[in-house]
């Protein structure tokens, strides 16, 4: 039997949602029939609007898709202006103020506290500047990710940027691919380092060469969510760049026809890949979805991948710092702790990009930003800018490696508070824990639930939201996983310690790293150490401990209307609210 979501999608979905969305926006929040809330909120996702969680009714998260993370000159300023004008809620975040931009792990942008009534104006501004929220969420082609310096990278094998942009042009707003069984995440990588993280995507194009032609090998069925992580698997297909559209369209159509529409938990491509196997997918793709002979896979570059590998391989693990481009200019990667940047700082970023570079800004899959196209003569002045005191090009290891998802601040799925907690963790670790000798990259990813938006399974230390009891009281807790990473031989973290009270996690990390330093062989990496150590021993090395770290979010933040409000009880919520912010009284 089709699910409710499939029934709603069969009635209205895709591009046509916009007309309804605009009507509701014109008439106001209260015009959405109460008995149609679930249906419309599900549909609005397709246009990048995600209704915020309980206690925050009538406010939306807005996601802007920036293909391959590219913000063209002028676009960062537009985003800053929109955040400043429209992304202000009824309460402030103590770390980030009340208007901020989130750079995401899929190289997109998220704004919060957006009112439905403001959507038409925001869309008009975005679209006048070449930006869009179309298909940023919902069951369709999501924002396409890739190496964030594609087209400029000195270690580039094939230029993936035109392919990513072409796929975006072809499949955004394409009615044949706008109502898929589930979300569809695509990665296009052209560099030798594997920065596109294709292994964790539904569909991955990865650099390869066949018969002297540079193009891509194709993998399918990767993903991290729901405690069912999968690495993408090879389809034994090589595509030259000009055939990427046809093959991607064929696979998307195959998923459209054969993905599970009766069970959303089983709907992702990774489960179809489990069920069918790659040989059958390839055969059906060839027989029914492409009208030319598929080539077998070419020679790939996977043994050269270093990105986010967790290895001590002198490779490239993020895009922080100053790096030479393939045209002799430089790019400067700036660390944005947990990916959140105030609206004023985002405007300043845009100014700096314009003054010293080409005006372009790029977003990475580690929630950071890059200023590109900086002539060597401008580097010193750029590096002297005040903004770089906060968003450093050479940050401390623990600041550099921290990623966090949205968490209970706004998200319905999360079990725990994340962003502010990870900020506090990083600061405490920086002040109190010695970084193991020679370690520059050490990744700690905090995800509030098993949806894995912070990609916890591919970090040195993986943290995942959970609950436990401490002194009889229910408190927020984290599962701890170790030794995940991508690179040449990707591997998901081992979950070695469960339900550690959140205030004991910094102590646990400190003890773990001290134990690692004591036991490591030579300069081996943390991941290498984890791989040669049995799980039981690893669990013993974690040693959760209370320290002078203080965690203000130990209570059930999900039961607050906003975890940082002075009066945070659900009953104190000012939502739902009208366009002017005045609360709408309940009928009860």
């Amino acid at each position: 039997m089709p699910t409710d979501v499939e029934n709603w999608k069969s009635e209205v979905y895709g591009n046509e949602i916009r007309e309804h969305l605009m009507e509701f926006a014109e008439e106001g929040w209260e015009s959405i029939p109460e008995d149609e809330h679930d249906a419309w909120f599900e549909r609005f996702k397709w246009w990048g609007l995600y209704h915020q969680r309980n206690g925050q009714e009538s406010y939306f998260m807005m996601r802007i898709g920036t293909p391959n993370g590219v913000l063209k000159p002028g676009q960062a300023e537009v985003v800053a202006d929109i955040a400043d004008e429209y992304a202000r809620g009824p309460a402030e975040n103590p770390e980030f103020g009340d208007a901020y931009v989130d750079w995401t792990t899929r190289q997109s942008i998220q704004l919060h506290w957006i009112r439905l009534e403001d959507v038409p104006e925001i869309f008009e501004t975005l679209e006048a500047n070449g930006l869009s929220t179309q298909q940023a969420c919902g069951d369709s082609w999501r924002n396409i990710v890739g190496c964030p310096v594609a087209g400029k990278d000195s270690a580039e094998f094939v230029d993936a940027l035109p392919v990513a942009m072409d796929l975006n042009e072809t499949f955004k707003g394409n009615d044949d691919h706008s109502n898929l069984p589930r979300k569809w995440k695509v990665s296009v990588t052209g560099c030798e380092e594997g920065c596109g993280q294709g292994d964790i995507n539904d569909l991955a194009f990865e650099p390869a060469e066949k018969d002297g032609v540079k193009g891509f090998n194709v993998r399918v069925g990767g993903g991290l969510s729901r405690n069912e992580p999968r690495l993408a698997r090879s389809l034994d297909v090589f595509v030259p760049p000009e055939e990427a559209d046809a093959v991607a369209g064929g696979i998307s159509a195959l998923f459209n026809d054969h993905g599970d529409r009766e069970d959303r938990y089983n709907a992702r491509m990774k489960f179809l890949t489990d069920e069918w196997g790659t040989e059958k997918i390839r055969r059906v793709l060839q027989e029914e979805y492409v009208d030319f002979e598929l080539q077998t896979a070419g020679e790939d570059l996977r043994d050269e991948y270093t990105y986010n590998s967790g290895r001590n391989d002198d490779g490239h693990h993020d895009h922080i710092g100053v790096h030479e481009q393939n045209d002799g200019n430089y790019y400067v990667g700036l660390n944005v702790l947990v990916g959140r940047m105030g609206a004023d700082d985002t405007r300043e970023l845009a100014r700096i990009a314009d003054e010293y570079g080409s005006g372009e800004v790029r977003v990475t899959q580690r929630q950071n930003v890059i200023v590109t196209d900086v002539p060597e003569a401008n580097l010193d002045d750029l590096l002297a800018e005040d903004l770089l005191d906060t968003y450093e090009p050479d940050p401390h290891t623990f600041m550099r490696g921290s990623i966090a998802c949205t968490g209970t601040e706004f998200c319905s799925l999360s079990i725990v508070e994340t962003k502010n907690r990870q900020v506090r963790y990083a600061r405490w670790l920086k002040d109190n824990v010695e970084v193991p000798a020679g370690v520059e990259d050490f990744h700690i990813h905090l995800s509030g639930c098993t949806a894995s938006c912070a990609q916890p399974q591919i970090a040195d230390i993986s943290l995942r939201g959970m609950k436990t009891r401490k002194d009889g009281e229910a408190v927020e807790a984290l599962d701890i996983g170790l030794g995940g990473g991508l690179g040449e031989d990707p591997r998901f973290a081992e979950w070695v310690e469960q339900r550690v009270p959140a205030d004991e996690v910094p102590g646990a990390i400190g003890n773990l790293l001290a134990n690692f330093e004591e036991r490591r062989q030579g300069d081996e990496s943390f991941r290498d150490f984890v791989e040669r150590t049995d799980e039981e021993t690893l669990a013993e090395l974690v040693e959760p401990e209370e320290t002078d770290y203080e965690d203000p979010y130990m209570h059930n933040t999900k039961l607050t209307w906003y975890p940082y409000a002075d009066e945070d009880d659900m009953d104190a919520s000012p939502a739902p609210a009208r366009a002017d912010g005045s609360p709408i009284p309940s009928d009860d």
Partner: protein, 118 residues
Amino acid sequence: MSVALRVLDDGAWVSVNDERRVSVSELWRVGDPDACACECADYVVEGFTDVGADGRTVTADVYGQCIRCGQAASVPGLPVGRIVDGEFRPVAGEAIRFPRGGLGAPQALPLPGSVGED
């Protein structure tokens, strides 16, 4: 009067009449010998997979784990609330929930440390 019941947001909420009423991430007391060896599981709900009704009782199929013994388990048909005079009334946090809609009187949890043996 019909009541609209559904699971929303990738299993994060039970929606009753288009209102998100029951959330994941709460701790429930669950009496189900198939879930784990504890007499009363202290069960963190990680996701809802289905929702249904048994008379006026609204039930949900859930997955999660007992934080006393660490056993992960799916449990079918746990009660989440009742429809009274057309209104949804959620189950009290301390009540013991049994599969197929059963409810026991609220009670304190056994002492910590008696994992799997209580």
